[in-house]
Symmetry: C2
Subunit: 189 residues, 2 copies
């Protein structure tokens, strides 16, 4: 997606330890116009899909999942919660996420009320590097025995193992911006 790549190059900042900061428009401040373009692009890519749920994970995925849902007949969005954010009155599917950036472990869960075996699920998230968050969501979908239509990711570091690992499991993964290197400026596939 050309506009997204342009914005990553223009506003993205690369820091030591392979950190890419694109939070001026994606995951701290939100560029609402860009998000509608992102949603439209996901609709184009997944135009043959009829999701009954769009699944994401808090926090940065929520607005992207929401805007994408507006292109799929306003289908419901479910966002996985982290670290006990659900109150105790839930029976949940759950998985553990180890964050590469923070080195910490998070407990990820979705209430069984909002995901079931009849659901056709489109998974949406902001970022894919090692794939820990996406693996959690896929694990939760397997627990729910629902049908995963595919995974739509805004930005992906293809030189890290997440994308290939998840594709090898047989899932469809589509990334709007595929970063192949950040060694000498940001380069895309």
């Amino acid at each position: 997606m050309k506009l997204l790549e342009e914005m990553i190059v223009k506003y993205g900042k690369v820091y030591p330890n392979d950190v890419l900061k694109i939070d001026s428009f994606l995951n701290h401040q939100i560029d609402v116009n860009l998000f509608f373009e992102i949603g439209k692009e996901f609709k184009e890519i997944f135009k043959d899909c009829k999701p009954t749920k769009i699944l994401t994970i808090e926090a940065s995925g929520i607005a992207i999942a929401f805007v994408t849902a507006t292109f799929f007949d306003n289908c419901p969005v479910v966002f996985a919660k982290k670290d006990g954010a659900l109150n105790m009155f839930h029976d949940t599917y759950h998985a553990d996420e180890t964050s590469y950036t923070r080195g910490s472990k998070k407990y990820v869960e979705v209430s069984r009320e909002y995901l079931c075996k009849d659901d056709n699920v489109l998974i949406i998230d902001d970022f894919l590097a090692n794939g820990e968050a996406l693996n959690c969501l896929l694990d939760i979908c397997r627990q729910a025995k629902c049908n995963v239509l595919g995974c739509g990711i805004v930005a992906c570091k293809t030189y890290q193992p997440g994308l290939e690992r998840i594709k090898k499991q047989g899932y469809r993964v589509e990334c709007l911006a595929k970063i192949k290197s950040m060694n000498d400026g940001i380069e895309f596939e």
Copy 2:
């Protein structure tokens, strides 16, 4: 807001310790159509305001802030992050939030890049009870010396002290559903 009150009565569940679960449509699963009605209502209430930023706090506030922004010329949304979710390359405004529901303390921050003294800020959040989250956002706005136009809250427990405390500070706070009691079914003001 009548539709919202009806949905709270129909789908809300009251549990011991004054816990109201409305996550089938508001803060775990998202009813996209309802959210557009919520955004439209905030636009009607704050129609004389011209925000340069809509500010909220992760995670449940994000989609509400996003949909509200679509009614204010797609103005940028900034969501405060919790517990070190920002990477280390930020200079931030920050405050501490003590959660009533969870009894835990959270470190809340916003990058100084995305909020400044020239900003006219509309604060949006899902829930107001003791007002801890909203107080954090207002504290951050004072640090940024920006102009707070008002606070739009989806559901508020008016029998808890948050709403009055914040109004007494001189802020405009507008709640779409004002819950005055949950002792014998959910009652609204």
